[in-house]
């Protein structure tokens, strides 16, 4: 998986072509063309308000594109949204677990929504919770979980219906280093064991550098650079870190915050607060 040299066509998990989303005058995602291979852990980085979340919301069919097209798991996001949803999992930046339900009840809700056959529900839920190390707290309210446990519960959801592509929007935001490490261990394990494709956003350049096979840097709705971590670093200089790449390749003009900035910062802060 180190090298991503022109894979065969059936190994493509996500194919976006000139994908664009406008909100009034603001172009949040601007003609993004992108190919993500099956089994890849693909990192999306970029400043707040750059369009990462908007791009993910389009690929997960939550938001229709203004123009352009994309396929996810082989299905068109505009004409086959139900099929796309059947084959993906999405862990949003916000907390998606219902804090008033127990971990098990949260999982049961998902299992029913995803059409897991009744006979298999209990077994799949128990196994997924065990794999994420949540067996002991399965019957505690999710509202009592720590941030790291909630994230693991949300990832456990995505084990129920065996999706081919997982979208993780800032899975480690607001987590302490130990909990971040655990989340990543589980992400890697899922990929290695089941050959799932993971699309991950993060502001922690160190973890993106360490865990992602390829990375796209998004700036003001456009892809500023794509490649492996070492390819991106080589573009900047011999001893560059991914932080340097980020700072150098993100145009200085983005100091003037784009309009999406405030909302995204507010959401990220709230998510961080609720995780802690």
């Amino acid at each position: 998986m180190q090298t991503a040299s022109s894979p065969p066509i059936h190994d493509i998990a996500v194919q976006a072509s000139r994908l664009t989303r406008k909100f009034g005058d603001l172009t949040a995602v601007d003609q993004v063309t992108l190919t993500i291979n099956q089994g890849e852990i693909f990192g999306l980085i970029g400043p707040n308000g750059a369009g990462k979340s908007t791009l993910i919301r389009m690929l997960t069919t939550l938001l229709p594109p203004t123009s352009g097209s994309a396929t996810v798991a082989g299905y068109d996001i505009v004409s086959q949204p139900a099929e796309v949803r059947r084959h993906i999992a999405y862990v949003p930046q916000l907390l998606s677990a219902d804090s008033a339900l127990t971990g098990y009840e949260n999982m049961l809700l998902s299992a029913r929504l995803y059409g897991v056959p009744r006979r298999e529900r209990a077994e799949r839920i128990t196994r997924a919770l065990a794999r994420m190390g949540l067996s002991d707290v399965a019957h505690h309210p999710a509202g009592h979980y720590s941030g790291g446990m909630i994230r693991r519960l949300e990832i456990a959801h995505s084990l129920l219906h065996r999706p081919t592509v997982l979208f993780l929007d800032e899975p480690t935001v607001g987590l302490d280093p130990g909990a971040r490490e655990t989340v990543w261990e589980h992400v890697l394990d899922l990929r290695d064991r089941f050959h799932r494709t993971m699309i991950v956003t993060s502001h922690h350049m160190d973890e993106i550098d360490e865990f992602c096979d390829r990375i796209a840097l998004i700036d003001r709705g456009r892809i500023a650079a794509v490649g492996t971590a070492s390819e991106l670093k080589a573009r900047v200089g011999p001893d560059a870190t991914l932080d340097d790449v980020f700072i150098r390749l993100v145009a200085a003009t983005s100091e003037t915050e784009s309009e999406g900035g405030y909302g995204e910062v507010r959401r990220a802060r709230r998510a961080a607060r609720e995780h802690s």
Partner: protein
């Protein structure tokens, strides 16, 4: 990455089976949303008691005073009996009309996005939410029933009557909670919703037969009340709940209006619910 997806393995001839399966999935998805609500109530039963305060106040303060005014309730029905059915409808209405708030809350939290990325059809999610409101309203109804019995209201406890009341309450709650969901989809913030929710409950409640008969109203208000679904819900409740209750419009029309309005609102809400994730 088979394009044909997970149904590829099924024999093509069993169309009936796949239709049956799709219906089964739809029912399961609807049920899943409502079941989660039951679990939440189970975890926090105190919430129900706090909501019981308002119907108690209406029956014991408003009801006791108004009972002294002659000629409000029609025929030989004591006013408190007349009012009890109206307050039952009201308590269900108040639960339902603020249901949109929880939808906005779920949107801000991220729970909504989780519903929306699931393969469940939007209409199944909306119906599930509507049923959830019905479940909540039913638990309210039990409290109002207990209170009404204590106050000596002549309540018909025949199982079929109780079943009829339950159906009317679930339908009425589904109707108004879906209306509430549509408003939530439009206004999108809790602050705006609070204002609109208050503004809505007043006319829905007062421009109906909940606390006085339509015959006391000026002509224009009577027209408004006749197109208000709450009037038909109260009419059905009065007929089914009280030992000497009668329906002014007939139960067929009552349930017909409630069902038709629920179907129309569900179809509208299903189109709008997905956009809440934007």
């Amino acid at each position: 990455m088979a394009k044909s997806g997970e149904h590829a393995g099924q024999p093509v001839s069993t169309v009936d089976r796949s239709v049956g399966r799709a219906l089964g999935d739809y029912a399961t998805q609807t049920f899943a949303v409502a079941a989660a609500e039951v679990q939440k109530l189970h975890h926090d039963p105190l919430e129900l008691l706090t909501r019981a305060v308002q119907p108690v106040l209406w029956l014991m303060l408003f009801g006791e005073v108004m009972a002294r005014v002659r000629g409000v309730a029609p025929g030989n029905i004591p006013y408190l009996d007349f009012l009890a059915a109206g307050i039952l409808a009201q308590s269900a209405l108040f639960v339902a009309i603020f249901y949109g708030i929880s939808a906005i809350w779920e949107r801000d939290l991220g729970v909504l996005q989780r519903y929306l990325v699931s393969p469940a059809p939007r209409s199944a999610l909306v119906l599930g939410k509507a049923l959830s409101a019905g479940v909540r309203a039913l638990s309210q109804a039990m409290i109002v029933y207990a209170l009404a019995l204590l106050l000596g209201v002549g309540i018909d406890l025949h199982p079929l009557n109780i079943l009829g009341v339950a159906v009317a309450i679930v339908l009425g709650s589904a109707l108004f909670s879906t209306l509430s969901l549509i408003i939530a989809c439009i206004v999108k913030t809790r602050e705006r919703f609070m204002g609109i929710g208050q503004v809505l409950t007043m006319p829905i409640f007062f421009a109906s037969n909940a606390i006085y008969p339509l015959s006391l109203m000026p002509a224009w208000l009577r027209v408004v009340s006749h197109v208000n679904p709450l009037t038909y819900e109260v009419d059905a409740l009065r007929a089914l709940m009280l030992t000497n209750g009668v329906s002014d419009y007939g139960l067929l029309l009552d349930f017909g209006v409630l069902s038709a309005a629920t179907v129309v609102l569900t179809l509208i809400a299903a189109r709008m619910y997905g956009r809440m994730g934007y």
